[in-house]
């Protein structure tokens, strides 16, 4: 069993380096998932995103996500980095590399990892818009993904009601 590599980083993610970490002579398939900052969300022109984390817990959750995948898919090699701080459009916020002898497992591992990270890791993003406004993104809002900034109270209450306790 290969120990997964996970990290929170404050400088640009080097995808080739993650790819190398999961490369090996017994690996027949490598998948890379790369999340990038895009210029449009929920119909608004985005200029950049600040990523903030509860660092100690986020690292622990990333480690747990990776360990659980390795436990379920023995011999999968995993390398995950999530970036924090201020990113502009086009920059990489998260990258997940998975390597295995079989492609189905490498593909599954990277899918499961990104879904679990989005669900479990205590990381937040504040989107900045072309008009100078900003929002903390709230994926629990079915309306579209974006929670208006904290000063707009009505929407906050709606989001609050939608938030449920996780176990």
């Amino acid at each position: 069993m290969t120990t997964p590599y996970v990290a929170l980083v404050h400088s640009p993610i080097d995808v080739a380096r993650l790819q190398q970490r999961v490369s090996n002579d017994d690996v027949g398939a490598i998948t890379l998932f790369i999340g990038t900052v895009r210029n449009l969300n929920d119909g608004r022109a985005v200029t950049g995103i600040d990523y903030e984390a509860y660092d100690a817990m986020a690292l622990r959750e990333l480690e747990a996500v990776a360990s659980e995948i390795v436990a379920k898919m023995p011999d999968v090699r995993l390398a995950i980095e999530h970036r924090l701080g201020t990113l502009v459009v086009g920059e990489i916020s998260v990258a997940i590399a998975a390597g295995h002898a079989r492609r189905a497992i490498a593909l599954d591992a990277s899918c499961e990892a990104i879904e679990a990270i989005k669900r479990r890791a205590p990381i937040w993003k504040r989107e900045h818009y072309a008009d100078g406004d900003w929002c903390w993104v709230d994926p629990t809002k079915s309306s579209g993904n974006v929670q208006p900034k904290i000063t707009e109270e009505l929407a906050i209450v709606t989001a609050a009601l939608a938030a449920t306790m996780s176990t």
């Binding site: 989005k118 890791a121 903390w136 709230d138 609050a160 009601l161 938030a163």
Partner: protein, 85 residues
């Protein structure tokens, strides 16, 4: 991190830090108490009305439930909807 008698120290992030105007607050309740009781106490503070009734809470860096107990010295965080990736 230890709480002073009669209060529990709580870490705040993102929109909740904005709501309280701070990245850390003292909840007016003594440990031991339940997560639910802690949240009730937080909601009496200035800005606390912006917290949902049942926000995500982590105790000692693990996801917790409303009925979980908080002990003296636990690291407690109230957590806005996560949006990593």
């Amino acid at each position: 991190m230890s709480a002073s008698p009669g209060s529990v120290n709580v870490l705040l992030f993102a929109s909740y830090a904005d709501a309280f105007g701070s990245r850390q607050v003292s909840a007016p309740i003594g440990a031991p108490c339940s997560v639910f009781e802690l949240v009730e106490a937080l909601r009496t503070l200035p800005g606390g009305a912006r917290l949902p009734e049942r926000p995500l809470v982590a105790v000692n860096r693990s996801w917790s439930t409303a009925d979980a107990q908080i002990s003296v010295g636990d690291e407690v965080a109230v957590i806005p909807p996560v949006a990593g990736g």
